[in-house]
Symmetry: C2
Subunit: 278 residues, 2 copies
């Protein structure tokens, strides 16, 4: 198959490495000439260019740019896409992306490979990044069945765990387990940095250990990524945050009212629930 | 030195192993005969008994029982303690402990070795558990200077990082970096387990990865320990939770008002603040 990849970062580059290893021909597009060169050197693409003309040969195109530039990018691609080409994306939010892109290219299937590393960029691209990781496809009733089928088979060849659901279901699920954690974790860092005298904060910084480290990790991550989650998934994220705040009030009330047995009962529940997410 | 250890669990047993390796004589007390035997076999004590008579020889006694039984335990010990003996504890909360125990034994110095493993009990005891870990002493103006000095030297010989502060300062600092994380993390698990339809929760469980795993770890821990934190440190914990809730409202308002630049600015701050706690 001839596979176009637009945006040669960690995800685009890693897809390219795996697809080439599987015998496909990979056509890369990046706005940076240097990135094109590096993608060629790393073996992530067979051909690369800073403009989309080479996509006229593509059967499937993976859109791997940041969420904020996807729709502008697709508008520039359209004149060069063959009429039957399947277009898919790798964005971490789906409803807003599908809403923007499906009208531009009816043969579009939303997708979200849930893999990554702390690094970004083509230099961080690696083989088998998607192995055993979830890959969610979010077709709508209007998405051509044949395209879903072809894309599913291709993605499964990466060794992913496939999931298919509608865009809103995806967004609500990732709001709970991926976007909500970022904001409650960031708020932990902000609280521990401000909510006491400088002397106490200084001691807290020195005493913090693995519990704080783990609970604060995602809140100390890439600010741009956190902003994108909020901006593109704000309805689902707000629902999750409202539910979280309501839950917090229950814990606070139990502590205020010294209901220690109830509190311990709640902690027994969360201890029992957590393994279902692991 | 002759060192008494009352409560031969992970912390008591590990203290015993290190003190014996440093050439001290360790006298262990546990309510369970089996624990006494195991402590002897593991080399954590020189002598062990289920009653406190052998503490008549002790220069220093480490109280290593759960917070809830400390004061009753001290009342049983007192008839057997030599008049000059220093008494210290290892509880994770200090103001309420110091308030209870100092009137019972004026030569008491509150302490908190901040080390541990996921396991508990004498079987989990290990050498050098305290190496490079914080050890906080919380004397009051009434604590005998000489006792603080002797205890500081002894504890430093374990290779700890020593801190000294008043009990309330300790409790506020650990509320922020140790107790608050437990409850915000538990509330994340509860929210992700309830705040959507069963179909979405099921998908969330399957898609959850390292971000959720880390952010939820301490909230899925020992429920009894979480209850103790809340019960014995509830004033400082409530202050931390109120500050956390107020912070949460700011994040929520920014998302409601679509203030994406402000939100990104806040995330840049938390990204910059986190390394100070590591």
């Amino acid at each position: 198959m001839q596979i176009g990849i637009v945006g040669l970062g960690l995800i685009g580059g890693s897809l390219g490495l795996d697809f080439r290893a599987l015998g496909h021909r990979v056509l890369g597009v990046s706005r940076q000439a240097q990135t094109c060169e590096l993608a060629l050197v790393r073996g992530a693409v067979d051909q690369a260019a800073t403009t989309p003309e080479l996509l006229t040969q593509a059967d499937i195109v993976f859109l791997c740019t940041p969420l904020g530039v996807m729709s502008a990018t697709v508008e520039r691609l359209i004149p060069h896409l063959p009429p039957g080409a399947i277009l898919t994306d790798v964005g971490s939010v789906k409803a807003s992306v599908v809403e923007q892109l499906a009208p531009l290219w009816p043969n579009f299937v939303g997708g979200h490979p849930m893999a990554g590393t702390a690094e970004t960029g083509i230099a961080a691209a690696q083989t088998q990044l998607f192995q055993k990781r979830p890959y969610v496809l979010t077709p709508t009733p209007a998405t051509p069945r044949a395209s879903i089928h072809i894309l599913t088979e291709l993605v499964q060849s990466l060794g992913c765990q496939m999931f298919t659901c509608d865009p809103a279901t995806h967004d609500q699920a990732v709001a709970l387990i991926s976007h909500l954690p970022v904001f409650i974790s960031a708020n932990l860092i902000a609280t521990a940095s401000h909510a006491a005298s400088p002397e106490i904060i200084r001691l807290a910084e020195q005493l913090a250990s693995s519990g704080f480290k783990d609970a604060s990790r995602v809140g100390g991550g890439n600010p741009e990524l956190g902003r994108m989650m909020a901006e593109y998934n704000h309805t689902a994220l707000l629902s999750a945050l409202y539910a979280y705040r309501q839950g917090l009030d229950t814990w606070i009330a139990q502590i205020e009212n010294q209901q220690w047995d109830d509190l311990e009962g709640q902690l027994q529940q969360t201890q029992a629930q957590r393994p279902r997410f692991l």
